[in-house]
Symmetry: C2
Subunit: 307 residues, 2 copies
């Protein structure tokens, strides 16, 4: 079956990174890592497409909210590695319905979040087409060699999530209340992630963009281990299914050495231990002893399912 992962794996197999390349990490994690000659920092690069009808709807999303979220998604990838965002580029494709006012609003929302997070809008591209989309590239920075990866968890470590899960999926269903707010205004966990990297030496990390069941499986596959979890913390009103499989929470999923004492709340965000990594079949996730299917969101799996 085609999936995002199968496409990504195929591409990864076709790219040979030469020994000594400045590309320290290529396809497969939240960001690529580039190590400039002589620099004290590693640079993180990530890009996320924000597409009308897929990631937002014109009739339910204000332009400011759309612009906010288009950037927030990429910032969340920078957070996943414990990075500090530096600049962004936007490639915007206007639709016939997008007025100048709508585009102004889109950039207003984007620039407010950019300013709040120290991300400078540095350029981009403009085009038009039959539907609106905007690709947002963010470049971030971490001290050389310190980026948190999803592939470096070891068996016998504790698995944590930040915040509570399922709020975005619930909000998408109901279109109201705090859950809707969580859906349209997710907060990239930049400060929290930096603290986990610097102070608590998290052993692996990624952001939850496609649902815990799928994202945790990706981490387990890339770290070559299995994971045993109990039910994750649920957003008020969200079902267990929302919390396990719902996408776009943009919380952090991370591991730390066994028994490390973490505060209940860090940088204003609740931390919950949901399980532990174990030696076992790579990618196997068990919830309360039962295998958990990766039912999170996959653009390409759902495309096939729709055929």
């Amino acid at each position: 079956m085609t999936s995002e992962r199968s496409i990504t794996e195929k591409l990864r197999s076709k790219v040979r990174i030469p020994a000594g390349s400045a590309l320290a990490l290529g396809i497969g994690d939240d960001c690529a890592i580039y190590r400039p000659r002589g620099s004290a920092d590693d640079l993180l690069l990530t890009t996320d497409l924000y597409v009308e009808g897929v990631h937002f709807r014109q009739d339910t999303h204000k332009p400011q909210d759309a612009g906010y979220k288009a950037l927030a998604r990429s910032l969340s990838d920078i957070a996943a590695m414990g990075g500090e965002p530096k600049l962004c580029l936007t490639a915007l494709c206007a639709a016939p319905w997008t007025t100048d006012k709508w585009i102004d609003g889109f950039y207003k929302g984007l620039l407010e979040l950019a300013e709040a997070t120290g991300t400078l809008l540095a350029g981009g591209d403009l085009s038009r087409g039959s539907e609106f989309c905007c690709d947002v590239l963010v470049l971030g920075s971490v001290p050389r060699g310190t980026a948190m990866l999803r592939s470096t968890a070891k068996p016998g470590q504790d698995v944590y999530v930040s915040g509570s899960l399922g709020g975005s999926a619930l909000g998408l269903e109901t279109g109201k209340g705090k859950a809707w707010k969580k859906h349209i205004h997710p907060e990239p966990r930049l400060e929290l992630a930096r603290t986990l990297r610097e102070k608590y030496r998290a052993t692996a990390a990624m952001d939850l963009s496609d649902g815990l069941s799928l994202d945790l499986r990706r981490m387990a596959l890339d770290s070559n281990l299995a994971v045993e979890i109990s039910a994750p913390p649920q957003f008020p009103g969200a079902t267990l299914a929302h919390a396990l499989h719902g996408g776009e929470d943009y919380e952090l999923l991370f591991t730390v050495r066994a028994g490390l004492k973490l505060p209940e709340t860090l940088c204003g965000v609740r931390l919950t231990k949901i399980g532990r990594t174990v030696a076992g079949p790579a990618g196997l996730i068990q919830l309360e002893g039962e295998p958990l299917a990766p039912l999170g969101y996959d653009h390409f799996a759902s495309r096939d399912a729709a055929k």
Copy 2:
């Protein structure tokens, strides 16, 4: 009137780059320039959207050709600054009609050009929507402080173009022959541009993506001067209008100090002096003594015109 430039200018006015920022150059040139802490190099960042029905058509473009050109456009921006491409990210939005085979072909074309130019595919994003688009981000590198800009021409310098112009526009009209090949397989002038930067110290440069009349006006505006030109070299079969206003030739437009001896052909590409910069109203272009209207391609101007 709304134009790409008016949107860009508005955004530029809203971004304050703090003194001492690692962002050495923001919105407005072919690439943004980022200067990593302690690095011997400046990094160039550019992103270009490649949209179905705007930049290519499913019924006329093979997937390999589409993939080639999606990357070539961004590489041309790196060439414009005299840079060396290092890596690329692709954000791909699949349409209902794009089969796995088509996507394979798209990446085949893209990866062939990537390999030929030393550009490593380092990651990206996958989505789907009602039409195909792919945004390609390229990161390139130049020795610190040496990037060629479009804003640094001075009055009294010679203005050159590489190759001949109008081929891409002619090819788009006729769909055949060498002009069609020029349209679908433009060659980013990477080696030529590096040589012009290193050996001939070009005083300003940009790539010709939207047509000479519009791009030269942009260079003249940004360098705060006027330019006098004669007819540029025409691609075989192309009209003067094709050569003046046709987009997507991806040749280099550059300036050098007055009277500098340049070879007729450099790195296998013909060089032609088309005029000179003069002190005068910023952005005024005169062709054989007559003002030349900027009739090149502007996605947003044509959007308004179509209303």
